[in-house]
Subunit: 328 residues, 3 copies
């Protein structure tokens, strides 16, 4: 794709275009080489940009460097879209391996890919163009929508409804039993989990994340929500739409999380916590009480309003000096 | 099962029984529908109970609603037992797939289920009625008891003793090498781990949890202990009986945990920590010192007596105001 | 191996050698039995040493017990080396199972072991003496060096360069997509990840750890670095050489970690954090800012200089008393 084509495609203006090179690849400011295009998204990286070896740069404002510059409003956005253009998905062959084990009453759509050593139990439905990679296990009574990707080594115990355009990464476990026991004669007795898991359209679930089935009824991951690696979603949790759950977050049973929520890395939620819409919880915080919509919360345990925590933290960091000063 | 039968079965009294309906399923207060039975375990959910669409309710005291009510002492307990009755385990077929690879000197008990694509290495013993689901790997020198369930994608490296009625969920890794190195010429050299893992009867291990083998001797999970998802049990840890280890807990090497202990979500233990019996550690706390029996500990790092921490926390939360006030 | 041979082999002096027994195995001070050798690495365990039932002990100084003692400078080091001698790796057979699926343009070195139900996609190169255990998935365009071990159930999506003498434990996921999205019309759109993962020589990666591929360019684990279980390494992270990343550590995208760093258990790093060489971060700390070389950092969030944190912590723990005292 020539520089002028890229610019045209993204409605950008070209500056410094001496030679309309063919762009072969993308690179970072530091590592891009001849033939690569790079981008400057933030003026704090200007120095790196001035030293780049790239053959072209996508930038918001022209910079003082003698290579072709594509001027656009959102250089990072254009860069990401450009990657999609330069690296189209190659692997779209339809294929069902003869090493797949398929149970009874299984419906498989058109143009599906099912790799080697996949096991599909009874009463499963797989939508058109869905791709299931080797060693994945699809338990009984599972419906999978269209254009969904299930990477190698995913386990779905069964009783799951998985939407369209869902991406499930390797090592994910879905519909495992929730962690629930009742007491009988001083022993923990297993509460039977008969509920299911519903994963709505456009959800992505990161590697080695676990999503337990509901005790009764359902655990739900809402439309467009993205979950990172090694996250634990316990039984009966309900996560809204378009939320972001970052790596190693853990939520105990029956939490309700709204839409457009961000839970940063390693956040923990006690059981039965409700979090409203548009809430951000900063990394590592422990949420012990419900959080209303439209706020930023953080700290340690318990998570509190972020602005309040920042103020407390200032005092904590100066505590020895403050106490001494007051002592005098 | 008719309402009257349920009541009789659990020694409950029936109130409001106009029509002795056949109960088909169970439901929560909010989502139960006609034909379902629900339960009220806590008066704080009374309002929801009064609005329920269920056909019957299990409750401790009669409530002001015009549906049949089964009066019992522990409504939640009865509800869980009822699920067991209404949803008996269906899948108990004995079966050994022809896609199983079985090594030398393997003993397999009666009425065992071994699904497709299971690999069993040499010198393994599998007890009666044990079920091993697809893609599980049973390394050499492993003994598995009776009525144990190993879900898909479990890895047992070998040198493991697994008891009766144990449940191991998908993605669990057992007997992996502990994280131990010695220094030689400024490099980390691997300490060879020749120990084993012992998992006693009635243990349950959640999805994607890892239990490392001992450096020498054994890592032990005691009888009746329940471990949640994504937990890390390091080499040579010894967990007592009937304990509860909640999701994403991590324990470093050689920890000793007593009986009837509860480690809440995301708790971390330094190495060589000893925790007595009947101890509770609250979520996310970091245990840096031994904890004697019969206490509640919590906070951040280090975990301290919970009552003491609550008091400190009150002061932390008011720190800016307190300091200002004292300053005046 | 006789006691005298062990002593000679490690240049130790023997004390109390009445009978030059054949040592069959190793044991801890508490659990060693007749025929075992044990070691005393730390005087605080002297009492246990005096009670040991072992047939010999490795110790720095002679102790008051009537069994043969091998006197060496570093008893623990000698003990670990001795394990290597007493328990040589038995399983070194070369073998390629007929249940392996191998793609196009795959090069396999000499004396390789590839277990049952392994899938190797196109354009993969596997070095001499490398061992790949059952159910591992090697995605396309992957190079694996010599003498590397890949345990069961490892997933490598592809585009990975793995060095020599690398050990990858079960459940590890390599080259999964990083967690990156851009916004379009209020939705999270996936940023295509086209980068790769480079794992240099002598790295070990613990069970169920995830290492995401770079968005562009590469995620790197440096030579000799050891990573424990359930760790998350996000896209574009670069970890230096000889570092130690303990269980359940999580690092967000584009972190740079130096050489000889130790990140203790459950530490979390925000994105784009740079940590210098020879840094220690204590357990559970949250690193929110770059950390220069040669320091010890810790606490909660944010991680600060450990010595400073210890001082603050002392005040926090006495806060109620201090405030009361000042109030009077």
């Amino acid at each position: 794709m020539r520089i002028s084509e890229i610019a045209k495609n993204f409605h950008g203006k070209v500056v410094n275009l001496k030679e309309d090179l063919d762009i072969k690849s993308v690179g970072s400011l530091e590592n891009a080489r001849k033939g690569d295009i790079t981008f400057l998204a933030n003026r704090k990286f200007l120095k790196k940009a001035l030293d780049t070896q790239a053959s072209a740069i996508i930038t918001k404002e022209p910079i003082n460097i003698d290579i072709p510059q594509i001027i656009v409003d959102k250089p990072d956005y254009v860069f990401y879209k450009l990657i999609d253009l330069l690296y189209p998905e190659k692997d779209s062959r339809a294929f069902v391996s003869d090493k797949v084990v398929i149970g009874k009453d299984v419906e498989i759509g058109e143009d599906v890919y099912i790799g080697d050593y996949v096991v599909i139990e009874d009463n499963v439905k797989i939508g058109n163009r869905t791709r299931i990679y080797p060693f994945s296990y699809i338990g009984k009574d599972t419906q999978i929508g269209e254009d969904t990707i299930i990477y190698p080594h995913v386990t779905i115990y069964g009783s799951a409804e998985i939407g369209n355009r869902v991406i499930i990464h390797s090592g994910v476990v879905i519909s495992s039993d929730g962690f629930g026991y009742y007491q009988e004669k001083g022993k923990h007795k297993k509460i039977k989990h008969i509920g299911k898991v519903v994963i709505q359209d456009d959800v992505e679930i990161g590697a080695n994340t676990t999503i337990d089935r509901a005790m009764i009824e359902k655990t739900v991951i809402g439309k467009g929500t993205k979950i990172d690696n090694l996250v634990m979603v316990a039984h009966n949790c309900q996560i809204g739409e378009n939320s972001i759950i970052v790596g190693q977050v853990g939520m105990a049973g029956s939490c309700k999380i709204g839409n457009n929520v961000i839970l940063a890395g390693q956040v923990g939620l006690a059981d039965h916590i409700t979090i409203g819409d548009n809430v951000i919880v900063t990394g590592k915080a422990g949420v012990m009480k419900d959080l209303p919509s439209n706020g930023v919360y953080g700290g340690t345990i318990p998570a509190i309003e972020w602005s309040k925590w920042k103020r407390i933290l200032t005092y904590i960091m100066k505590l020895p000096e403050l106490i001494k000063k007051l002592g005098r």
